[in-house]
């Protein structure tokens, strides 16, 4: 009986999984001892419905099974696990849900009884204080990022300008191009090494990860201190290294991490415990604070507090909770206020909080630029165009990301790729500056600090260089506010094309990057081009291209990220003018509709490509036809109220089935009803629900019943013991249980959740989905008419249903 555990080859030539099988994924949690999973060389005869991913497994043993089959207690054959190349239609098993639902066990009820009302009010005040702290810290981090990027980029451009000026006069401009490429590659290499080798979850903008977290999925490492450090340093390196990225997305992620950290009152990484805020060490509170942190991040990035609140609510909350909304708004406003204060000091206008330089995109004065009703159709056309262009961007980026996931998965390769992108960005920028003949005299406002003369006359400067040598925010600002005639249409057109390709290529690299500012810049460029075209056609009647730049920016951003409400408010606040609210909203709606018709939004694509079991706002269409019995997992591993330690340890140590929630059933005879095929029909009368984390804490503290018999006081755990172990519960392998302890029993009744949510087995998928999503559940027990446990519904069971092209389809589950 071969017990071969062979590594599956990762060769791409092996396309139908014909390699040797290693771990047999047994269908039932094996009741064997811990550790060795039964494996073997098998000639299984699973039938596959199609050569692609999904298949129903023939559970009965067909004929022809050789005698290699091991112990007869193994009832089912194990199929050969199929291997397929990565695609977007997969869900990964490694993602768990957050425990948003409160476990109202006996300990909790006792604590609430002991604490009383005064403590509850104290806790409420504590929440407000934490929100204020979140706002202040997020703003400070955003200021640090802002200021360091400005200084570093300024230094780089100063050095480059010196070289280019000398080389212009003396010859050898190609050397300056090489120098530029080398500087870019060097800075980006540092950032990329930090991300690829240090903390891969810090790659990208962080918004998809935060979206998933607020949806209720526990993304590993997403809110750790290490992630924050890597993210901040990474974004500084990316922007200073000249990549086509923005710094706004990483600020949102940083805000979320700060919120998760501050609300716990301790740092596991730094091993410091401040012994306060212990009450908030629960997933419920943490997720609420992370919403506040994300909102504070948005408001620090754009100066848009209301936009931040709406972003958080649009992405995160399952339902509108008034107190939570108020606290989130408080955190956002504090964040904007702190940021304004610090930046006003940095710009030497200390205390002048209404200094216009703090508004990100420059204020559009109401008297300056008006729009008329006959321009609304033009704006709508721009919206359509933005949607189409955004869909194209997403499509190209999708294929690029699939390529990256399939073939470029080693960290060294990722770093090399990032360096190459930085190099090519420098080369493209340089050649565009080199071949551009557009010379402009420098304007009075001196919004561009670093200018290149290159081949222009004395006193004039290369306007393409002005665009490339600035941080993207300044370029967006110039595009919005510069007087007509500043930009040459050919320059703008070439810039649009090259920037589109470079930005599409850049997003998805193993660097911290945001996609807001590149899309705004791209949209502002083609919007301005459109405005110039209009004023040319109308012989000067439509003379202001700045307003079209704003609409183009909104259209492009809406076409790429497909956010509606929050984006409108963010743009209105960032430009300081409410009059533009109507056109911006129309443009965004148009872009979203057209874009959704063609392709999905960028963040949704990346979430799908990461195989996250994300649950949308609404259940998929036609989901009323499925019932709970098809959706649920069956059979279910249950515990009795007085359970043997040995059984608990065995079940928790089982590698093949990574369960986290176990229904607790009543003991007695005929616990498990067996139907005619020998399968368990139900598993006993439901009494409660136990989580793996709770069981581990019990085992760790050895809260066994036998101990109390010998005269020791009953070792009763308190909630504090559970909270101390949160959030990084030790794995079962680190808990040592001796042989005699395995014979002890544990009383689960005071620790279990005595009132878990249940659904009857006829409940439709639609209903289960809504219940699950609205309450933020992790496990939902399916019972029959006698309140006996039949199955368990988890997030992966629900998220695998997607509505696609005429029918409901199931997405297969993968191991990693």
């Amino acid at each position: 009986m071969a017990n071969i555990l062979k590594k599956v080859s990762w060769s791409s030539k092996d396309d139908d999984g014909g390699g040797e099988v290693n771990e047999a994924t047994s269908l039932v949690g094996s009741r064997r001892g811990s550790g060795a999973s039964v494996a073997g060389k098998r000639n299984s005869r699973s039938r596959f419905l199609s050569s692609s991913g999904f298949r129903t497994v023939d559970l009965t043993d067909g004929d022809g099974i050789s005698e290699e089959i091991l112990e007869s207690q193994e009832v089912f054959t194990s199929p050969r696990p199929k291997e397929i190349p990565h695609s977007e239609n997969l869900l990964s098993q490694k993602y768990e849900s957050l425990d948003y639902d409160n476990c109202e066990n006996q300990l909790f009820l006792e604590e609430e009884h002991n604490l009383g009302v005064k403590r509850v009010k104290f806790m409420e005040a504590g929440r407000w204080t934490v929100c204020m702290a979140i706002g202040i810290l997020t703003a400070l981090v955003a200021c640090v990022i802002d200021i360091v990027i400005e200084q570093l980029a300024g230094l780089k451009y100063k050095i480059l300008k010196q070289y280019i000026d000398t080389f212009t006069a003396d010859g050898g401009l190609s050397v300056s191009m090489v120098i530029w490429a080398a500087m870019n590659a060097g800075i980006v290499m540092v950032g990329s090494i930090l991300v690829a080798f240090g903390e891969p979850v810090a790659a990208g903008s962080g918004i998809p990860q935060i979206k998933c977290y607020l949806n209720g999925v526990k993304i590993p490492h997403v809110v750790r201190l290490k992630t924050l450090v890597v993210k901040v340093l990474g974004v500084i390196c990316s922007v200073a290294g000249g990549l086509a990225v923005g710094k706004e997305g990483p600020m949102i992620h940083s805000g979320a991490v700060i919120a998760a950290g501050v609300s716990q009152g301790r740092s596991t990484t730094l091993k410091k415990d401040f012994k306060v805020l212990e009450y908030f060490r629960r997933d419920t509170e943490k997720r609420d604070f992370v919403s506040a942190g994300a909102a504070a991040g948005v408001s620090a990035a754009f100066g848009a507090p209301v936009g931040g609140v709406l972003f958080s609510l649009e992405e995160g909350a399952s339902f509108w909770n008034q107190y939570l909304t108020w606290r989130i708004f408080f955190a956002s406003v504090i964040s904007t206020f702190t940021l304004n204060f610090v930046l006003s000091w940095y710009h030497n206008h200390l205390g002048e909080l209404s200094y216009p330089g703090l508004i990100n995109f420059g204020a559009f004065e109401s008297t300056g630029i008006a729009y008329y009703i006959y321009e609304i159709p033009l704006f709508l056309i721009m919206g359509v165009f933005g949607g189409l262009l955004g869909a194209l961007f997403n499509f190209l980026n999708y294929w690029l990301t699939v390529l990256r996931i399939r073939y470029i998965h080693r960290p060294a390769q990722q770093v090399l790729e990032a360096m190459l992108v930085a190099t090519v960005t420098a080369v493209v920028s340089f050649t565009m500056i080199y071949f551009s003949n557009d010379c402009q005299p420098l304007g009075e406002d001196k919004s561009a600090d670093y200018t290149l003369q290159l081949f222009c006359n004395d006193g004039e400067y290369n306007s393409m260089a002005t665009t490339f040598f600035n941080t993207p925010e300044k370029s967006v600002r110039s595009l919005f506010h510069d007087p007509p005639g500043t930009y040459n249409p050919v320059t703008l057109g070439l810039f649009c094309l090259s920037y589109f390709l470079v930005a599409c290529w850049t997003y998805g690299l193993a660097v911290s990057s945001g996609v807001f500012i590149p899309s705004l810049l791209l949209g502002a460029a083609w919007g301005r081009l459109f405005g110039i075209f209009l004023s040319y056609m109308s012989k000067g009647a439509w003379a202001d291209p700045g307003k079209y730049a704003l609409m183009g920016a909104a259209a492009q951003l809406g076409g790429i990220v497909r956010m509606t409400l929050s984006l409108t408010v963010i743009l209105v606040e960032a430009t300081g003018n409410v009059s533009y609210g109507l056109p911006i909203m129309l443009v965004l709606m148009m872009a979203k509709w057209v874009g959704d018709f063609c392709f999905e939004g960028l963040y949704d694509i990346h979430i799908k490509l990461q195989s996250v079991p994300f649950m949308g706002w609404e259940p998929p269409a036609t989901s009323h036809s499925l019932t709970a019995s098809e959706v649920m997992s069956h059979p279910v591993v249950c515990f009795k109220r007085f359970e043997q330690v040995g059984r608990i340890v065995d079940i928790l140590s089982d590698n093949t089935a990574n369960h986290n929630g176990f229904p607790v059933v009543e003991e007695g005879e005929n616990v498990v009803n067996v139907n005619e095929q020998g399968d368990a029909d139900d598993f006993g009368k439901l009494r409660g629900l136990m989580l793996r984390s709770q069981l581990i804490v019990l085992l760790k503290h050895k809260a066994f019943m036998e101990r109390s018999d010998v005269g020791e006081p009953r070792h009763r755990l308190t909630l504090k013991d559970f909270r101390d172990a949160y959030p990084r519960f030790p794995p079962i392998q680190s808990i040592h249980v001796s042989e005699e302890e395995r014979e002890c029993t544990v009383d689960l009744s005071s620790y279990m959740n005595p009132t878990p949510y249940t659904v009857p087995q006829e409940a439709s998928l639609h209903r289960i989905f809504k219940l699950f999503r609205a309450l933020g559940l992790r496990h939902l027990v399916v019972c029959n008419g006698d309140n006996r446990v039949i199955g368990l519904v988890t997030r992966k069971d629900l998220a695998r249903y997607r509505y696609h092209k005429g029918g409901l389809e199931e997405v297969p589950l993968t191991q990693t």
Partner: protein, 318 residues
């Protein structure tokens, strides 16, 4: 005051009218009718010599004027006349030096004296404890005196003239040394241009070549540029210097075509093409040599009765 020579025939009535008109200069708008146009004589620009402004009092004077019937009782009237004269002098000087723009260097005295007069208007107090400021500046909606001062001061500030001035003797302002030296260098450069471009040379195609200018005047021009950059860094630039530098640069670049640069197009193209090829090689080698990362599927545990499974479409994994 009016020159007696021209006014002899009108002497006595004009003197009387003058005495009566003086209050009107302080309260002009109320007594005059709407759309009242000034007599032709008022508008004649009799600017002679020192730019004296003739005053033709032609309107009846308001009898209840607080300024009083005699000029001796109010110190504001002469101040007003003084201010009018100084402002006119300043306007004359500025417009005379509008192109080429030498406002700051040439009109210092005029600006200073106009300001001084205005300052005196602000501080003088009349007998009845009312200030001249209130009488002259804030008595009507139009506020001519204030607007005039505002306008000329605004022009002065926009030209950043104060950056090129230092305090002189007796509380006056005078032109700074760096401006003088810059102007000297400018003169030198311009002279060099002029001398070297007198004899045009022609190249093979018959175009005018200014290589003499480029060669001989390069040092002077570069020195000028360095001085300008230095001043720009210090922030001591006024519009005179800016304009001078701009026109010189225009001459140098556009007219004489002397800007030197070495364009390196072939090598730039070659290096850029090489660098753009690198990612293509990288991706091709990754696809060919890297083992594709595959995902291993996991069976879910489901209940066996799947009657409605036929209604589901199976996902086609790619």
């Amino acid at each position: 005051m009016a020159t007696k020579g021209r006014l002899v025939p009108f002497l006595i009535p004009s003197l009387l009218l003058l005495l009566l008109l003086l209050p009107f200069l302080a309260f002009p708008a109320g007594a005059w009718g709407p759309g009242g146009s000034l007599p032709h004589a008022w508008l004649e620009p009799e600017m002679r010599g020192g730019g004296e402004v003739p005053l033709y009092p032609v309107y009846p004077v308001d009898p209840v004027d607080p300024l009083g019937p005699t000029p001796d009782e109010s110190p504001c009237a002469p101040l007003l006349v003084e201010f009018a004269r100084r402002s006119a002098e300043l306007a004359l000087c500025s417009l005379r030096h509008a192109r080429p723009l030498r406002l700051c260097g040439s009109c210092v005295i005029q600006q200073w004296s106009a300001n001084r007069t205005y300052g005196m208007i602000l501080t003088t107090v009349q007998v009845n404890n009312e200030t001249c400021e209130r009488t002259l500046l804030r008595s009507d909606r139009l506020q001519l005196v204030y607007q005039q001062h505002s306008f000329s001061q605004g022009l002065w500030d926009a030209a950043s003239c104060e950056a090129c001035l230092v305090n002189g003797t007796n509380g006056t302002r005078e032109v700074a040394s760096w401006m003088i030296s810059f102007m000297q260098q400018l003169n030198k450069t311009r002279t060099c241009f002029h001398e070297n471009s007198l004899v045009p040379r022609y190249d093979l195609e018959g175009n005018v070549k200014h290589s003499a200018v480029c060669n001989n005047c390069r040092t002077a021009y570069n020195t000028l540029g360095k001085m300008y950059a230095e001043l720009q860094k210090n922030g001591s630039l006024c519009i005179d210097l800016e304009d001078a530098m701009n026109t010189t640069r225009q001459l140098w670049s556009v007219q004489f075509n002397c800007v030197e640069y070495c364009s390196d197009t072939p090598s730039v193209l070659a290096v850029s093409i090489f660098m753009c090829m690198l990612p293509i090689f990288f991706y091709m080698s990754s696809v060919i040599h890297s083992r594709q990362r595959k995902r291993r599927l996991v069976t879910s545990k489901r209940m066996k009765s799947t009657n409605s499974s036929a209604s589901l479409h199976r996902a086609q994994a790619q």
